[in-house]
Amino acid sequence: MTFSPDKLNKVQEIIARYPEERQKSALLPVLHLAQEEFGGWLSVEAMDYVASLLQLEPIEVYEVATFYSMYNLKPVGKYVFEVCQTGPCMLRGSDDIIAYIQQKLGINVGETTPDGLFTLKVVECLGACGYAPMMQLGKFYREHLTKEKIDAIIEECIQNAAINN
């Protein structure tokens, strides 16, 4: 388990942003890189690799990886639906959207479809309350969700997965 030369350069570039001997500051950004590179989640092996890159004790990496909600410590599906369930989204119908996705994908919150394509998560406020209901899908937000939009997004994911396989 190693980064590509590109990613290794990126790591060096990140470390250079901080004073000398403070490369621990690079931990959050490098964990993001590792999660992207190694299949969307952080295995113990991936965390140990990050520890060795930044000359940290493995425990320093584990305690950070377990604190922040964006790091997945278990494998996830290819497409992770992270639907906001906090008050302002609730006022605009997020509960119905979550129920609809569960029904449509045949999974509960926290589960992954058997084909490994979709994971459904609920998350807390993502700073998009005015465009509710909403979810994060990969790098971007999908906002003003309706049942029709959910159908279209699922279709889009299936198509993309077919092309990329």
Partner: protein, 449 residues
């Protein structure tokens, strides 16, 4: 007529990019500021009356004057772009659409504070925004506004974007500093304050995105002119992110002389309650501030018109008032359930508690559990008093203000909507199939409708 100081250029084509920004008066403030002394900039900010836009409303100029200047120790400015308070999405708007406004504000503020390396700490979920900011930084650098010896002044400045990874608590400034150091976001005990010992034990100022963008018009127009806009100690303009059951959710810039009623009902802002419904309640300053029923929202307890500013929104204290907070304005129509909304907030704070202090760690969990019972028809009347008791024991007994932030929404919901909680307990079946409705919270507008 509304004054726009931050969003005035938001609709110009291509304004996200350097050329359009520069053509429309961009970087004039940096040019002007770098000819001033750092002390003179701090003075202008003091004169402007600018108060921190992150939620606490602390005077920015005063905060800047506290930064320690020990010989030979670097100082840092850190921009707080963690924006995770439910109801708040204004900083995102600024960064996404007007990145150069923030970069300008950061250069000027870095110069004033003597920060040669400045960080923007942005919440990890805003995953596409670092690209926008980094492009703006690269453009500014190419044009000579960043880097070494800027405009021949001898001032060096670099700006780096650091992504968080999903933790509301990292918006608290000492937790943010811990996170920037690559650790868990556990708030530090103060003192020492960041102005003395912040990131890597160096003197540090943490300011909100909107605060730092406001420095640009302050330099352009002068602190005194800026202070003439608004009213009393609410000077300048404020961004309000409006959401919930209104016709036009979005980010609005207001000068703080308009009434709450105008903000909700005028077409220039929220455009009224959605679907022709009536107003029930509102949380006017982000999830942490007290919810107000419609009657107390539009008028203070003294019967005066409630205005959209720091003083008026907090008029009456927590008994009958609320706070401007972060400007996250959450509107409830007549069909919304206050118990259910309060439950989502209790869950939020339980999820986001860092766990260092027992009153916060345990108390938020208990509150969520009890609220869940009440919401799902399994509550007892004594649970309402128990909730009150728990929130009271959290408030003021924790390391950081997240404890208070978790306690206040529960306290205010019980204070103003106790009958709705009681109705849930007394009607366990009915409360599963319908909401309590408006009850007696109607403002005059509601009665007519």
């Amino acid at each position: 007529m509304s004054v726009k100081l931050l969003l005035d250029k938001a609709n110009i084509e291509g304004i996200r990019y350097y050329d359009a920004w520069r053509k429309n008066g961009g970087y004039a403030a940096v040019e002007k500021a770098l000819k001033m002394t750092p002390e003179a900039i701090v003075d202008e900010v003091k004169k402007s009356g600018l108060r921190g836009r992150g939620g606490a409303g602390f005077p920015t100029g005063l905060k800047w004057s506290f930064i320690a200047k020990p010989e030979g120790v670097p100082r840092h400015l850190v921009c707080n772009a963690d924006e995770s308070e439910p109801g708040t999405f204004k900083d995102r708007y600024l960064m996404e659409f007007l990145p150069h406004l923030l970069i300008e504000g950061l250069i000027i503020s870095s110069f004033a504070l003597g920060s040669n390396v400045t960080y923007i700490y942005i919440r990890g979920e805003y995953a596409w925004i670092p690209d926008i900011l980094e492009q703006a930084i690269a453009e500014a650098k190419a044009a000579g506004w960043l880097g070494r010896n800027i405009l021949g002044t001898g001032f060096d400045c670099e700006i780096y974007v650091q992504r968080g990874a999903g933790a509301y608590i990292c918006g608290e400034e000492t937790a943010l500093i811990e996170s920037l150091e690559g650790k868990r976001g556990n708030p530090r005990i103060k003192p020492p304050f960041p102005a003395i010992k912040g990131v890597w034990d160096r003197p540090t100022v943490v300011n909100n995105v909107e605060t730092l963008t406001a420095v640009v018009p302050i330099i352009n127009m002068g602190g005194e002119e800026y202070a003439k806009i608004g009213v009393g100690k609410s000077t300048g303009t404020k961004l309000i992110s409006a959401c919930g059951n209104i016709n036009k959710p979005g980010v609005y810039e207001i000068d703080m002389t308009i009434s709450v009623e105008e903000f909700i009902y005028s077409d220039e802002y929220c455009g009224g309650i959605a679907n022709g419904k009536r107003l029930k309640a509102c949380i006017p300053g982000g999830s942490s501030v007290p919810i107000l029923p419609a009657n107390l929202l539009l008028k203070t307890a003294k019967g005066e018109t409630r205005m959209m500013n720091y003083e008026s929104l907090s008029d009456g204290g927590f008994a009958t008032g609320s706070m401007l907070g972060s400007g996250g304005f959450i509107v409830f129509d007549e069909d919304q359930c206050v118990v259910r909304h309060t439950l989502t907030l209790a869950r939020f704070y339980r999820h986001e508690s860092c766990g260092q202090c027992s009153p916060c760690r345990e108390g938020t969990g208990w509150m969520e559990k009890i609220l869940k019972n009440i919401e799902f028809g399994k509550g007892k009347l004594s649970d309402i008093d128990l909730l009150w008791d728990i929130q009271r024991r959290i408030e003021g007994n924790t390391i950081c203000p997240l404890g208070d932030a978790a306690a206040w929404p529960v306290a205010a919901a019980i204070r103003h909507f106790r009958d709705e909680f009681e109705w849930h307990v007394l009607n366990p079946q009915e409360s599963q199939v319908r909401n309590y409705g408006l009850a007696h919270y109607a403002d005059e507008r509601n009665v007519v409708a």
